[in-house]
Amino acid sequence: MSESEPSFILEMRNITKSFSGVHALRDVSFQCRPGTVHALVGENGAGKSTLIKILSGALLADSGDILFKGEHHQSFSAREALNSGISVIYQELALVSQMTVAENIFLGREPRRAFGIVDTKRLRTDAEKLLKQLGLEIDLDTEVGELTVAYQQMVEIAKALSKNADLIVMDEPSAILAGHELEQLFQIIESLVMKGVTIIYISHRLEEVFRIANEVTVLKDGSLVETRPLKELNRAELVKMMVGRAFEEVFPEPTNQPGDPLLRAEGISTDTILQQVSLTLQEGEILGVAGMVGSGRSELARALFGADPLASGSITIKGKPVVFRNPAEAIRKKISLVPEDRKQQGLFTELPIRNNITLPILKKITRWGFLSRANENEIVDQARKQHSIAMTSGSQEVQYLSGGNQQKVVLAKWLQTRPEIIIMDEPTRGVDVGAKFEIYQLMRQLNKEGIAILMISSELTEILGLSDRILVMREGRIEGEFKPSETTEEQVIELATTRAVAAS
């Protein structure tokens, strides 16, 4: 029986694609076995997205062809891909937040009766069936915008299933999930695979790849490195395949001892979710904050940075009480925030690197009220050397940099203000392995200069590997403090998720 079945559900052969002369993909061949989870990994810019876009019909390959379910396709249009059973779940979820769960699942494909009237009854029963298949208990009439990101993602998966997808591509699904949400996603993936659905799973997080995937394909600089069963690999080998060099130690060791307490928060609460949070941040340390999405991590950052007013509690810096009415006051007290979403909150992506870096210190680089281009260039040059930013010149627009380099620009920007405290919300999100290491090194370098870092992260390896101390948050409170040497990932997850109630 297995003889007659094709051994691959999908074969992409010799795919080449270039954008204005630059090769994004070079002769890449990629095969996927039916009913398996196939991981696709590589640094940013390795060509993963391009490959997926070609598969989903969003882009047309220059050469090469695609075999799906034994059928030959010279090129895929978006509709053709959809109709033949390929669904892609992008990181930016394709849902209309004002519409209900049921409406979203069947958006554009509503069951209808005569005269274009929606068959609401069938819409609901069909949606219910799908959610049941996935073992989800979500109210069909809830507006999607009211669901947690995790549940929104589940709705996306239900949507993919409703299209009878045989192949579901998940583009970094875990980037927005934490703790038990991720566990639930894995369970769903397992049940989908049992039903014969094939999953292509793109992720930066290698633990996940090892946890759920059967095979892994590594891309680097637009070329195929290798496809291997994960059983034959260990983490170090996989990292080596991705970056082309071995990482002995991913996390740099601290070279200094934490110093005096710098910032102390006592019993701070806000109108949002923060409740009675107390913490101390010492000179030259990295204080890691772990917790699920929605545990109050980002709200803590906002409160310390003066973006949300305190309802109660107090903050002292070097023993002196401070009250921040807005971020500008916090910046004056030498606090910087490197926000979670650098494109929305950290950078002007359409402006040159130069303007981004010097924005916080424009006053300092003026001569008789006019900006001094020479001063500006000097600062940018320094930043480039110091943080090894890969860029063509200071006038390059930030949007054309890779994620890792963008993050370095954000850091360079805030370092101009000579901060003593830096709050980093997800410092390495969407950053490839090589650049991650550089950012870690930079953080330790800052520590050495006495700068205290409060690091919020969803990546437990990062929290455990880099922090000097770890705080675990849940439901707006701090649930515990650990030393990384005395704790495990399991303990942190346990504390971050117990008693956690699922949405709706």
């Binding site: 004002q98 958006l107 554009g108 509503e110 971020p327």
Partner: protein, 319 residues
């Protein structure tokens, strides 16, 4: 339901409560106010704002805007009066051609937005001036004449209720049905809620836009006919600033200017609130010019309230 009806519609309920307050003030100050006669009168008045506001709502739900409806109403009053020219035999011809004019204007709007990729604001803002220019080129003095039968429709009643009110109720039910029961309606919300998602879901965004802008303009044309019924002549004064009143009514009714959210019941509340405000000022004998001031304040207050509500409902994400 995740949230109770009251939570979800609390602000729309505030709008209706305000209407009751206005009615109470009216009743307290004038015995004429709470009579069937005055109330049906107000409803008939509401139809004039209501027909354009319902069309405007559809456009705003797709995250668009139509600034031209006041000018279109003006042009349609003139065109229908000229075509009818007091002759009962011309009534149907005038009605059909006027509505046809509306249809064409709406389709042109959608064409420019869809095919030339212009923003709805730019297209309809230009249209505001173009249509007004055409109208005022035709005449600056009253022109044409309604036929006698057509004129009588204004005061004609069925079971004590003006037939214009029936037309208004019919439109309310129609739009409600459209938005709640049809694929077209669902797709209107989808486009306004998230354009890219709608497009990626295989929704023909262009077709929906053609439909929405056409409907909005046809409704405005029908408002022009209602004005002809009322005035008996094509008066070029009609329609000035109507688009702004319509937008205010739509927004007070809880429709998001960014699209994707809004209900007919809410917009009806907005329409009634504005109409009662005007009516009350007449009944109280207050200077009419203060009406703009009051509407402006209600408008800002409504948007501020809706915004606060959103903020606490949706929680806060990021900076």
């Amino acid at each position: 339901m995740n949230r109770s009806f009251y939570q979800k519609h609390s602000l729309v309920l505030v709008v209706y409560a305000l209407i009751l307050v206005l009615m109470a003030i009216g009743a307290f100050n004038s015995e004429r106010f709470l009579t069937i006669r005055n109330l049906t009168n107000v409803l008939r008045q509401a139809a004039y704002l209501g027909t354009v506001a319902l069309g405007e709502m559809l456009v705003i739900l797709t995250a668009g805007i139509d600034l031209s409806i006041g000018s279109l109403v003006k042009l349609c009053v003139l065109v229908s009066a000229i075509l009818m020219d007091g002759n009962p035999d011309n009534v149907w011809m005038a009605v059909v051609l006027t509505l046809g004019l509306g249809l064409i204007v709406g389709l042109v709007h959608a064409f420019l937005i869809n095919e030339l990729n212009l923003s709805p604001f730019v297209v309809t803002f230009a249209s505001l001036f173009i249509l007004q220019g055409i109208a005022l080129t035709i005449t600056t003095k009253p022109i044409g004449r309604a036929s006698r039968d057509f004129l009588l429709l204004y005061s004609q009643k069925l079971g004590g209720v003006p037939i214009i009110v029936y037309y208004f109720i019919f439109l309310i039910l129609l739009i409600m049905f459209l938005l709640r029961k049809t694929v077209f309606g669902k797709h209107i919300y989808a486009i306004g809620g998230n354009y890219t998602v709608a497009q990626l879901s295989g929704i023909s965004v262009k077709r929906i836009r053609y439909g929405v802008y056409a409907l909005c303009s046809v409704l405005a044309a029908s408002t022009g006919l209602l004005w002809l019924m009322r005035m008996g002549v094509g008066d070029p004064v009609i329609g000035k600033g109507l688009e702004l009143n319509a937008i205010i009514a739509v927004v007070i009714g809880g429709t998001s200017l960014f699209g994707g959210r809004g209900t007919v019941i809410g917009v009806l509340g907005g329409i009634l609130l504005l109409t009662f405000t005007d009516n009350l000022l007449v009944v109280l004998g207050v200077n009419q010019f203060i009406s703009g001031l009051i509407k402006g304040i209600i408008f800002v207050a409504a948007v501020a309230l809706y915004k606060q509500n959103d903020r606490y409902k949706g929680g806060f994400t990021g900076l």
